[in-house]
Amino acid sequence: MPDGWVVVLKRDCPTCTLVEPVLHQLAGAGELSVYSQDDPDFPAGLPVVDDRELETSWRLQVDTVPTLLRVEDGTEVARTVGWLRSSWEELTGVTGLGPDLPDHRPGCGSRSVEWGVEEELDRRYGERVLTSRTVELADLEDEHEAAYARGWTDGLPVVPPTEARVLAMLTGTTRAPDEVVAVVPPDLVPCTVEKVAVNAVLAGCLPEHLPVVLAAVAAACTDGFNMHGVLATTMPAGPVIVVNGPVAQAIGMNSGVNALGQGNRANATIGRALQLVVRNVGGGRPGEVDRGSQGQPGKYTACFAEDEAGSPFDPLAASRGVEGSALTLFAGCGWWPVVDQLSRTPESLARSLAASLRGVGHPKLAIVFDALLVLSPEHGRVFREAGWDRARLLAELEGLLTVPAAELSRGVDGMAEGMPPAMIAGWGEAVPLPKFRPGGLLIAHAGGTAGLFSTIVPGWVSGAGGSEPTTVPIGA
């Protein structure tokens, strides 16, 4: 950087054109270097350094034009932005600057911090912080086809993960790119923040979605959640993400109309990013370690936010001990609507829900499977108006879903499926057997304000021998 006064400006800025006569005054009073971001002929009559490539603007971290610096011995010692006569006079030591100008005009945004430009300049001039292997494409190679050809997609097109996009994605977190987030099954590969970011780009995420994806990856890769088992099972299990806390609204997640369906970018891409990390980093691909016999469309993506404001209950994550922004990961096997348009008492509605919940996995299998019940606002209202909280509804459902063990034995009701007779003999035939283990029924609240339908997400094998629902905080 040359000693003296350094000015960075652009013609496309009214304040920069306003100070043109001031620059001529300064040029006659000392050493002045002018860098123009858009037109090397501006300002006319002065030697101007062409900074249309924005390298100097980037190196000086200019975010507003005009920016005026004083440089001594190659080091910046003073800086002012925009036009404020007193500041310019103080910085330069020259009085009587721009006598015909107003005292003050704010500057304009620097071209170097325009959307998408800053990340590209970081990539071009910054130290390389990314360590992912680079893949060069031929000029005639379609980038979307290239992603398919390399096996990076879930069958839908992906956003090509360019360096600039990945750098932009990384601005969504305060964590270092090389920090290991989790060891991803089934190949047990240590996965860095950067690799998660690359897959979040593929999935179509915005940078603000990244902290949720990072939390989801960490949760999925715990021993408790058991992502390896969720993949390897022939059942149609896949991770379902329920997001709680202020982060959901801050990143525009949907907890309302069609919350479990398509149409919201955050919901769609966060769930997809988790699946792409498992596929690309962990190596969990259908037909390989993913042995789902039929699968289900929730294995593309399954992510929604809980409608906390309208819920009759405390937030799902809080009920599981994590307050604030958090997510709960549940190994779900599909989406199953419960219709009850007539119940107006909590007792009647609870009986309807219990009748449907009994079928999770199989009506004669108890304790084996967990379930996630997503109450709709119209069903939730019935419980709220009756003053039922989460514990009250769970207790009611447990009572309705507990039957003598003998009724569930194999062969009973003409169905070979059921609980093993030896197990029942050990307990005693009259022992009451609940459908769900303690904590095995999760209840969340989401959906549009019209519709007396709720949704059951049947679980996969529960507990230590299968998958534990996993709740983790969402960081920055």
């Binding site: 000029d139 005639l140 990076w152 980093v281």
Partner: protein, 91 residues
């Protein structure tokens, strides 16, 4: 040149693997890649005449220099136009 970042565990090579060698050239297009060393074309001309006589479709390509790997654009062109490529060296 467009560059993407690899989203995978990077446990397998980024370049794609060779197709298995076909049992027959019937109905296939064969690319003849001259690496641009002296007299490589003599060998390739002879190969071309033999292949064409057998009814095989032949396309000719050349690397800009034998001293460097084939440019990615050339590799892509061959990959989309041919099922088989014969890279010839003569010295």
């Amino acid at each position: 040149m467009r560059v993407l970042l690899d989203p995978t565990s990077e446990r397998v090579p980024a370049t794609r693997t060779l197709n298995p060698r076909p049992a027959s050239l019937d109905g296939l297009t064969v690319g003849l890649l001259d690496i641009s060393k002296a007299r490589g074309d003599v060998l390739l001309d002879r190969l071309e005449s033999r292949l064409v006589a057998d009814g095989v479709t032949v396309r000719r390509y050349a690397k800009p220099t034998f001293a460097k790997p084939a440019p990615i654009d050339l590799r892509h062109e061959i990959a989309v136009q041919c099922e088989v490529v014969i890279e010839a060296l003569a010295d």
